[in-house]
Structures are given as structure tokens and as C-alpha cells.
């Protein structure tokens, strides 16, 4: 394939896919270790009501109000889960289930009630996004990468996910030691003066930011998959946190690129005419990687801990 075809049609979706995967996998490492993996699931469900409310309030489909709405909904959900868990003395999983399903139902209802037929806002789009449509029309070939005029026409989603990735990476780099300490031994972290509860909340917020930026480009299903699958697979490969983060980034890049290529060209190789959903394929590939790691990974077994019944 020549550059004149690849750069405008496939380069930006591929890059966005990879950046999204990495931005979600980084906080995902900590969430998986802290047994909060399903926070990602909850956040990606409540993004829908947030976006619908933002649309109803502003009346326009624009990026910033929607991202604010989604982030606001994520914060509301986290606070509600915590409140219900404490006030009702309910186990966290059930509290989470109550909150995110109800908020999602509210979002669907609002969507049906309001007149959104004229704009591109529907549940299917929210679920599996539209990675394939994020093309770079101004590009003509590899040379466009150095052409300021063409660069100005880059899909805005790419810039946004780049900012989100920088934010997520910066947070983890800045708070590396406290994050590591409070993830493995919260009691000890507290005794050395780390505000573990605040840090935990900040981590969830950072995850929400990554989820919202990613959701904008690729839909929520890939967000859940990238929060959990690459870190979980990485956990089977190594016993150190640094190693796990390295592996998870590698797995995220691998599943995004392989998934995108398989979705775009796999059907053609098999003789079919049309491509399949890239977001779905990326999630599937990450699952394959997890399956391989769970079967053959060097550190897959639970050591020292008793098997639960």
C-alpha cells in the first residue's frame, strides 16, 4: 500500500487507537492491582447520561461541553457509589451495579425523550464509537507529516487523546512513589503521611479523564477492554510494577495496531468485501493476548495466597 492511501485513511485512526489504548492501560495497571478494575466499566457506562445532559443544556454537539458533561457524570457516579456504599452499608460491587445501571438507564431515557434525531448521538455510537471515520483528509502522502497546512487538518480527536495521554502519564510520573506505596500497602502509605484516600480518588478521576477522551474517539467498549486486558495480561508476565507497566503498554500498542489492521484488512484477506468494527476487533485481540498470557505467562499462578473456594 502506498503512502498516499495509507496516511490519509489509516494513519490517524491507527495512531488514535494506539494512543487511546496506552492512555487507558496506564491507569488500568493501578486499578487492576487495587481491585477497582470495574470502575472503568462503571465510568464508561455513565459517560452516556453525562453527554446527553451536556447536549440538552447547551443544545450543541461540541467537544468541550460533552467532555465536561461526561467527566461530571463520572465524578457524580463515583461519589454516588461511595455514598451508597457507606450510607446503606452495601458491598462495593453491588453499589456500583446499582449506580451505573440506573444512570445508564436515565441516559437512554433522556436520549429517547429529547429531540436528538437531527444530530449524531445514539447509543450504538456511544458503545462502539467510530474509529474508522477519523480520517485525515488533508494528507496526500508521507510528506504531509511535515506540511503545516495539512497538519492543521489533523482530526481534533488525535490532539485531544494526545493531551489526555500526557496528563495521565504526567500524573503517574509525578505521583509514582505514593501511588505505588498506597496500591500495595495502604496502611503503611498512610503512616508515612500519604493521603491515600485522596490519591485513590485522584486516580479514579484520572482514569475518568482518560476514559472520556478515549470514549470520544473510539466508544466505551474499547475503554473497558483497554483498562483491564493489557494490565491483566501484563500481570501474568512479571512481578514488578515497572515491568508490568512496560508490558501493559506493549500489549496495548500491539492489540490496537493488530486489531485495527485485522478489522480493516482481515475480511479482505478472507474474501469478504467490507471491514468490521475496529473497536470490537481491538477488544477481541486484547482478549486473545490475555488468554495467551493467562495460559503461558511466566508469572500467571497465584503464589503464596490461598486459593479461594
Amino acid at each position: 500500500m502506498s503512502g498516499s492511501e495509507f496516511v490519509p485513511l489509516s494513519l490517524t485512526p491507527l495512531l488514535i487507537g494506539i494512543l487511546t489504548a496506552v492512555a487507558c492501560a496506564l491507569p488500568g495497571n493501578f486499578l487492576v492491582l487495587r481491585r477497582q478494575a470495574l470502575i472503568g466499566d462503571a465510568i464508561s457506562h455513565v459517560v452516556l447520561p453525562g453527554i446527553v445532559v451536556a447536549f440538552l443544556l447547551t443544545g450543541i454537539i461540541a467537544a468541550w461541553p460533552m467532555m465536561l458533561g461526561a467527566a461530571g457524570a463520572a465524578v457524580v457516579a463515583v461519589v454516588l457509589i461511595e455514598a451508597i456504599r457507606r450510607l446503606g452499608r452495601i458491598e462495593p460491587g453491588a453499589a456500583m451495579g446499582v449506580v451505573f445501571t440506573s444512570m445508564f438507564a436515565g441516559g437512554v431515557l433522556l436520549l429517547e425523550q429529547s429531540d436528538t434525531s437531527s444530530v449524531h448521538l445514539d447509543v450504538e455510537h456511544a458503545l462502539y464509537g467510530n474509529l474508522e471515520s477519523l480520517i485525515w483528509l488533508d494528507a496526500t502522502g508521507w510528506s504531509s507529516l511535515f506540511d503545516p497546512v495539512a497538519l492543521a487538518g489533523l482530526p481534533v480527536e488525535l490532539i485531544r487523546i494526545l493531551i489526555a495521554l500526557a496528563g495521565v502519564g504526567g500524573f503517574i510520573w509525578l505521583f509514582w512513589r505514593p501511588l505505588k506505596l498506597s496500591t500495595f500497602d495502604e496502611g503503611f502509605a498512610r503512616t508515612v503521611g500519604i493521603r491515600a484516600d485522596l490519591l485513590g480518588f485522584a486516580l479514579v478521576i484520572v482514569a475518568a479523564v482518560a476514559a472520556v477522551a478515549a470514549f470520544d474517539a473510539v466508544g466505551s467498549i474499547i475503554v473497558i477492554a483497554m483498562f483491564i486486558c493489557p494490565p491483566a495480561a501484563a500481570r501474568m508476565m512479571t512481578n514488578t510494577l515497572e515491568g508490568q507497566i512496560g508490558w501493559s503498554v506493549a500489549f496495548a500498542v500491539l492489540s490496537a495496531s493488530l486489531g485495527y489492521v485485522l478489522a480493516g484488512y482481515g475480511p479482505l484477506w478472507l474474501g469478504a468485501a467490507d471491514a468490521v468494527s475496529a473497536a470490537g476487533m481491538i477488544a477481541t485481540v486484547s482478549g486473545m493476548i490475555l488468554a495467551l498470557a493467562a495460559r503461558f505467562g511466566p508469572c500467571r499462578a497465584r503464589t503464596g495466597a490461598p486459593l479461594n473456594s
Binding site: S102, V123, I221, R235, M236, A283, G287
Partner: protein, 421 residues
């Protein structure tokens, strides 16, 4: 304003009309389809509520999330198989069989991951749900490109679609719900035991792993049955919210199961009726929101575990502490500056408005101080160790010791002594 009154007439007419529609819907008089949906939703709500209770008590509520998302590839594969065999592709029983199969595969993956690898259950749930759902979406896009026009309706399984429900569909749902309830009736005792104490159940010789699997199988059955009405994303709500709601009202597992079935059934029935009474009210989300309404009310007003009850309990406790401290201060002749304490003492008739103790106030204060001295003796004496453990600064000593024991302690304290002038 000139246009004022017709407009008001119009809105009030609309309100009347909506009310009449809702009444008709609640009485199942809105036509064939609405009645089918209402009956189906009620049955589904009951079986989901009952099944979900065991899942909730086992603290594995979110496993249902993985199971429900794992149904999607099965639905798509069943559709493709039926089309390639020359069938219609939209046969509900066939689609449900396919969804059950892939949900079962997802469940086995989940169990394998938690048992054989170091992953915690939540990570296993998340990975199974996202991977199966992603794969299902890949298959959905394949279907969209294969037989144009015939795929209509598969997206309906995401959020449920009750518009074109057929008699046969309702029959499938009713039969599935009834079978689930019957199975639960059969294995409710071992399931309860495993839910509360898996180690004890294992020691009693129960096959814990297989009972867990049976529990998950029931959840899967409910999920599959509910796909048509509420869809795979929201069925989780029907499995989680009714049990959580019912838990507020009782501490006995059998009652929680019954209440949860009741809440689920009511939510299904009311939700279906409300959604039939007006356009643009999708059935699944309305059912979930009705269930959430029950939950919110229970969270607030339930006796014992509710928020309101907790607040009242706290206020009562606060009052006792203030009264006690106030009485001790009176007895020792110390002035009381704390406003709430003075107000409480005044309301009880123990002090006058200016803070001086009344006759009964002095008597109660003396008693409080004497009780405090008695407790001091009790807590210093090894023989009263069990009673001393109950000391919390508020408990009346008469509720802990017998009359004779208190007399014995009083002898040790001795009577009032003369103070040399």
C-alpha cells in the same frame, strides 16, 4: 394574556389523558402488545429479583455484568447459523439458545481465570465482559454487511425492544421465568448456605463449586430470558437493584428473597405500564428507573438499615450522652456552658431556665454520680470482669448487675461521711 386559558385547558386535558392512559396501562387495557409486555416484564422481574438475591448475598453481584455482555456473540452466531441454514434468523428461541451458549462459555472463562491465575475476580469480570462484547460487535458488523435488511432487530438486544413482541416470544419468556423459579425452589437451601459460608458448606460436604456454577447458570437463564425486554446492558440492574432494596427491609434470607422477587415484579409491571402509557418511553430503562426509585426510598426510610433510622439513632445517642454529662456536671457543682445540654436538661425538668438544678434534677444528678462510682468499683474488680466489659459510660448499672450485687458494691463505697467544719 389572551391565549392563557385555552393553553391551560390544553395542558389539563393532556394531563387527564396521560392519567387515563396510565390507568388503562396499569389495568392491562392498552391492547394486546402492551399486555404481553407487562406480563412478561413482571415475570422477568420476579425471577431476576429472586435469582439476584443469591448472587448478591454471595457478594458476586457484578458477575451478572460479565454474563450479560457475554451473550452478544452467541446471539450473532445463532443468527448467522440460522440464516446460513436457510431459516429466518430472527427466531427468538434460537437466538436465546445461542446467547445462553456463549454466556456459558464466558462464565467458564471467568471461573477459569479466577481459579487458575492470579487475577482477582473483578479484573476477570471486566476482561470477559469487554472481550466478549467486543467480539460480539465485530460479529454485528459482519452481519450488517452480509444479508442486508434482514439483520434488523439484533441491535434491539442491546437495550431491549418490546415493540414487536409476539405471543411466542412472551411464551418463551414466561416458560423460562417459570423454569428458573422452580429450579431456585429446588436448590435454595444449598445456595443459601454457600452464599453465607462457603467454607462451612464445603466442610458439610456440599459441592461448592458446582452450586456456584448452578447459581451462575440461573443468572444466565434470567439474563437470556430478559434480553428481549430490557436488553443485555440493563438486565444487570434487575439482578442487582431488587436484592439490594430488599436487603434494607429484612435480616432473614428467605424474606429477602421474597421481598426481592416482589420488588422486581412490581418494577417490571409498573415500568411496562408506564412505558406503554406514553410514546418515547423505552421499556427497559423505565423498568430500571422504577426499580431505582424503590431502592432510593428504601435507602432513606427503611427501619434499621435506612439513612433516616441511622440519623434518628444518632440523635437519640447524642441526647443520652449530653444528659448524662450534664447530670454529672450538676452533681459535681460545675457550671454547664453547653447550650444543647442545658436545653435538654431543662426540657426534662431537671434544671431551671437559669441553669440551677431542680429538686428532681439534684436527685437524678446524685444518682448519676453514685452510679459512676459504682461502675468504678465494678471495673476495678476482677470478679466483675464480664459486667465491666459492658461499660460504655451510658449504660444503667441496674441492667447489668442484680440488686444484691449493687447492694454489695454500695457497702464497699460506704455511706455519706461527715465533713469536718
Amino acid at each position: 394574556m389572551a391565549g392563557g386559558w385555552p393553553r391551560r385547558r390544553w395542558t389539563s386535558w393532556r394531563a387527564c389523558w396521560a392519567e387515563a392512559m396510565l390507568r388503562d396501562a396499569l389495568l392491562l387495557q392498552l391492547g394486546y402488545n402492551a399486555t404481553l409486555v407487562a406480563i412478561g416484564a413482571t415475570l422477568l422481574g420476579i425471577s431476576a429479583g429472586v435469582t439476584g438475591t443469591f448472587l448478591f448475598l454471595r457478594k458476586r453481584a457484578l458477575v451478572s455484568d460479565a454474563i450479560s455482555h457475554a451473550t452478544l456473540p452467541g446471539v450473532c452466531i445463532a443468527f448467522m447459523v440460522m440464516v446460513s441454514l436457510g431459516g429466518d434468523g430472527r427466531n427468538l428461541a434460537g437466538l436465546l439458545a445461542g446467547s445462553a451458549l456463549s454466556a456459558w462459555v464466558g462464565l467458564l472463562c471467568l471461573n477459569w481465570l479466577t481459579r487458575n491465575t492470579r487475577l482477582a475476580e473483578d479484573a476477570a469480570i471486566g476482561s470477559v465482559l469487554s472481550v466478549f462484547f467486543g467480539f460480539g460487535i465485530v460479529l454485528l458488523t459482519v452481519i450488517q454487511t452480509m444479508g442486508a435488511g434482514r439483520q434488523a432487530g439484533l441491535e434491539g438486544f442491546l437495550l431491549g425492544s418490546t415493540a414487536g413482541m409476539l405471543w411466542a416470544d412472551a411464551l418463551v419468556i414466561a416458560l423460562g421465568g417459570a423454569c428458573t423459579l422452580a429450579l431456585i425452589l429446588l436448590i435454595r437451601r444449598p445456595m443459601t448456605m454457600v452464599a453465607f459460608d462457603p467454607e462451612y458448606a464445603a466442610a458439610r460436604g456440599l459441592p461448592v463449586y458446582r452450586i456456584d456454577l448452578a447459581m451462575m447458570g440461573l443468572v444466565m437463564a434470567v439474563t437470556v430470558v430478559g434480553l428481549k425486554i430490557v436488553g443485555l446492558i440493563l438486565i444487570v440492574a434487575l439482578l442487582i437493584i431488587p436484592p439490594v432494596t430488599a436487603r434494607f427491609w429484612s435480616e432473614r434470607s428467605d424474606r429477602v428473597v421474597m421481598l426481592s422477587g416482589l420488588v422486581g415484579g412490581l418494577a417490571g409491571y409498573l415500568g411496562a405500564a408506564i412505558s406503554a402509557s406514553a410514546p418515547n418511553l423505552p421499556t427497559g430503562p423505565i423498568i430500571v428507573l422504577v426499580a431505582f426509585g424503590f431502592f432510593a426510598v428504601s435507602l432513606l426510610v427503611a427501619p434499621g438499615r435506612g439513612v433516616l433510622a441511622a440519623v434518628l439513632r444518632h440523635l437519640r445517642f447524642q441526647r443520652r450522652v449530653h444528659l448524662r454529662q450534664g447530670l454529672l456536671a450538676l452533681a459535681q457543682g460545675q457550671p454547664i456552658y453547653e447550650r444543647l445540654t442545658v436545653r435538654l436538661l431543662h426540657r426534662a425538668g431537671l434544671v431551671r431556665a437559669d441553669g440551677v438544678a431542680t429538686e428532681s434534677g439534684r436527685a437524678r444528678a446524685a444518682k448519676a454520680l453514685r452510679d459512676e462510682k459504682r461502675w468504678e468499683i465494678v471495673r476495678a474488680d476482677q470478679a466483675h470482669e464480664a459486667a465491666a466489659a459492658l461499660y460504655d459510660g451510658l449504660r444503667d448499672i441496674e441492667t447489668v448487675l442484680t440488686r444484691d450485687q449493687i447492694d454489695e458494691i454500695d457497702r464497699r463505697i460506704g455511706g455519706p461521711q461527715e465533713v469536718p467544719a
